[in-house]
């Protein structure tokens, strides 16, 4: 059973990993990363590291991939051609070299420690997170298991910090909503100060660019909004640029 789970999840992991580098669309690549991370979580369950599995799903598959997607969406998804640009010269060759080296290293480590790998969970003496049936018929309660210990610590010694963290998250949400919310009523003109940094004026859209679908972000803007902002801000930065 364990072997079947291992091979299935290993296949998922490898397929996901391949997908990350093969798929053209960055969003699809990020989603296949989820498959890889999910497969790793299944492997953790297979090894009875339930807490690690949960954290793997929550932190990696949940938060980090969402962050990836967030950045991809901000940068723009229709930039498939950027994949062919190489920021570092010969980076593909280097990557191939590095991958080969890594494979050899793993193989060497595998050979060197071949005798030590048993495939058994290593925490026999620390008790695993389910009750153990003793030979004489009684069961040892799972009081010292990972998750129980963690819960115990969270709700006894660290309960204050835990509650404060909950409050902190609430406050972060309130603040983020306030900062992101548009002011009521019409847009007020921005002050006439030209910042010395970062904010750029919207590029003038030429007719050829406007008809060309691959012209970039400026062409994608809602035309109504652009005119409102242009009128209100007298050619200064748009509200989107500020936000």
């Amino acid at each position: 059973m364990e072997a079947i789970v291992f091979f299935v999840s290993a296949a998922i992991i490898l397929a996901g990993g391949l997908g990350v580098i093969v798929l053209r669309n960055p969003v699809h690549a990020a989603l296949s990363l989820v498959a890889t991370l999910f497969g790793v979580a299944v492997l953790f369950i297979d090894m009875e590291a339930y807490f690690l599995a949960a954290v793997q799903v929550i932190v990696y598959a949940g938060a980090i991939v969402v962050l990836f997607l967030f950045v991809i969406m901000l940068v723009g998804v229709d930039k498939a051609e950027d994949i062919y640009a190489e920021p570092i010269i010969k980076q593909r060759q280097f990557a191939a070299l590095a991958a080969a080296g890594m494979l050899i290293l793993v193989a060497l480590v595998g050979v060197a420690f071949a005798g030590d790998v048993t495939g058994q969970p290593s925490n026999e003496d620390m008790t695993i997170s389910r009750a153990i049936e003793n030979p004489d018929g009684t069961t040892t309660p799972a009081e010292t298991s990972n998750i129980n210990q963690l819960a115990e610590a969270l709700f006894t010694d660290y309960v204050f910090a835990f509650e404060i963290t909950a409050l902190l998250l609430t406050i972060a949400v309130v603040g983020a909503v306030v900062l992101a919310r548009r002011p009521k009523g019409d847009l007020q003109p921005l002050p006439d100060v030209e910042p010395s940094w970062a904010l750029r004026k919207p590029r003038a859209v030429t007719p050829t660019e406007a008809t060309d679908p691959s012209a970039g972000d400026d062409a994608d803007q809602d035309p109504d909004e652009t005119t409102v902002d242009q009128a209100a801000t007298d050619g200064a930065e748009t509200d989107e640029a500020k936000a």
Binding site: A131, T139, P141, A142, E143, N148, E152, F155, T156, D157, Y158, V159, F160, A161, I164, T165, L167, L168, I171, A172, V174, G175, A176, V178, L179, R181, P183, Q188, L190, P191, V193, P195, W197, L199, K242
Partner: protein, 504 residues
């Protein structure tokens, strides 16, 4: 299935919670929640009441603080010593609440008249103060970190509250990035310290670090990183770079809050960490604080001499003042009573600094209401246009400079006492550096005072300045405290003569 699993689990023992001891925090939490939710119920109608509600709400937790202070049991310890209520923490809690109250007074007109979200502003302000109140009692790495984040994250957002102003956005972003960077460094340091000590409790860390035998490099790195993380928070040289820009861009009441509350909270964390946690490793933190203190005093003063903007001047003067407050920590570990003397000196300095700095910001806000600029020139001839404000400002500036018999003088005096009390070469050397800097500081404070009394009015505009009631009350309150602490120092020492109890 679930029932059998639950049956196997050992029975859950509720942690001991002393509800009287956490009453101030709970009250403050309730006030913050009400402030945030009231907008949903009352919509626009509650606008006028919000700031008074926030003000009185911040004074409300003082009641449990007073009952705790007069109650029989001196020290209350919870969670194995992670959360300690002693005289030290009660004094600081009261200070943070009063600071918050004065900041609300400063904000009332500023936030009410601008195009700002009022309820959320006060809600975030209250939660930031809750973080400071929690910080005062934290004696555990995790509590300290969570308290730091609770007080910082609302502050990041408050700094960028003037959403339509590019400089405010810059201020918030800079503060946020620098703050997160500092937190990361500090967390790394904390993880190293935890790795050596095997516990997050400061008392056990002290035991583990003093014992020796652990890797020197890891201990040194851990302590240095933790201290550097908080040096960002208190804007000590060379980690002060965010402060002038953030102070300038943020709404002025928020600047006052950052300059006083946020900075004080950083010092509270440093005091708890150093005196309870790292005291045995004087060889590591002593020289570190010596350099930070001397550098902050000197650099802050030199830069302040060259400023043309009052807010930036206050920012650099704040860096210099932070140097004065860091100085006693450099000699805190020299044995004898030096730890207690240092704590008392810093506490005295913090109380007086809060009063005089908030007062100076109250004048700055009042003046900017008319002149709408923060250039130093706008203070020219303030005596002719607003004689009362000019007198108040002179009072606060003189106190900041340390002229007797005002509070600032006594604050500097207690720092010198702590430094010389240690009776070490490093202590005397730092006292000399501090003395030189105290004289240099006269340069910019005095020049500003001179502008108000001697020069012709700014732009020839002799129209008087109207001071709203809230601002006026803040001015009187801070001025009374500043003068009282200087004229009769026992008022201050009565509160600040505490020992930092390690708990358990």
């Amino acid at each position: 299935m679930l029932a059998t699993v639950l049956a196997e689990v050992a029975p859950f023992v509720r942690p001991h919670i002393d509800w009287h001891a956490v009453a101030p925090e709970l009250t403050l939490l309730a006030v913050g929640a009400i402030l945030t939710l009231i907008d949903i119920v009352w919509l626009e109608r509650g606008r006028k009441l919000t700031s008074s509600l926030a003000g009185f709400g911040l004074l409300l937790p003082l009641i449990p603080i007073v009952t705790l202070a007069v109650s029989d049991s001196d020290t209350r310890v919870m969670f194995d010593g992670a959360y300690v209520i002693d005289d030290y923490s009660l004094v600081l809690k009261a200070m943070f609440l009063l600071t918050g109250y004065v900041v609300v007074l400063l904000s009332t007109n500023y936030i009410g008249e601008g195009d700002y979200w009022e309820n959320e502003y006060y809600g975030l302000l209250v939660s930031s103060i809750l973080g400071m109140v929690v910080m005062a009692s934290s004696r555990d790495l995790i509590s300290i970190f969570v308290a730091l984040e609770l007080l910082s994250i609302p502050a990041y957002m408050l700094a960028t509250w003037r959403k339509r102003d590019v400089r405010s956005n810059e201020a918030g972003l800079k503060y946020y990035l620098m703050g997160v960077f500092a937190s990361a460094i500090m967390l790394y340091g904390m993880s190293l310290v935890y790795g050596v000590a095997g516990s997050t409790l400061l008392t056990e860390i002290n035991a583990a670090l003093s014992e020796g035998g652990s890797s020197e490099a890891v201990v040194t790195l851990g302590i240095v990183f933790v201290v550097v993380g908080f040096a960002f928070k208190v804007s000590a040289f060379p980690f002060h770079t965010w402060s002038p820009d953030t102070y300038e861009g943020a709404p002025t009441p928020v600047t006052a809050f950052l300059a006083v509350g946020s900075k004080a909270a950083g010092f509270v964390a440093l005091m708890s960490l150093v005196v309870v946690g790292f005291l045995g490793r004087d060889d590591v933190f002593g020289p570190l604080f010596w350099v930070l203190a001397a550098g902050s005093m000197t650099f802050g003063n030199v830069m302040a001499l060259r400023q043309k903007n009052i807010i930036r001047l206050m920012a650099y003067s704040g860096v210099a003042q932070a140097g004065f407050m860091l100085a006693p920590l450099a000699v805190a570990g020299t044995g004898g009573t030096s730890a207690d003397t240092s704590i008392s000196a810093i506490l005295t300095y913090l109380l007086i600094y809060a009063a005089m700095n908030l007062g100076a910001f109250a004048v700055i806000i009042s003046v900017a209401r008319k002149t709408e600029t923060a250039e130093l020139e706008s203070y020219n001839g303030l005596f002719t246009t607003a004689p009362v404000l000019a007198v108040f400002m002179t009072l606060f500036l003189a106190s900041l400079a340390g002229i007797p018999p005002l509070g600032g003088w006594f604050a500097k005096f207690s720092v010198f006492t702590a430094l010389t009390n240690a009776d070490t070469g490093a202590g005397y050397a730092l006292a000399v550096v501090a003395a030189i800097n105290a004289v240099v500081a006269f340069g910019y404070y005095g020049r500003l005072a001179l502008r108000m009394w001697v020069e012709e009015p700014y732009l020839g505009d002799k129209a008087p300045i109207k001071v709203p009631v809230a601002l006026g009350f803040a001015l009187v309150l801070t001025a009374v405290i500043t003068v009282a602490f200087g004229v009769y120092p026992p008022v201050a020492t009565h509160f600040t003569d505490v020992t930092l109890v390690a708990g358990v």
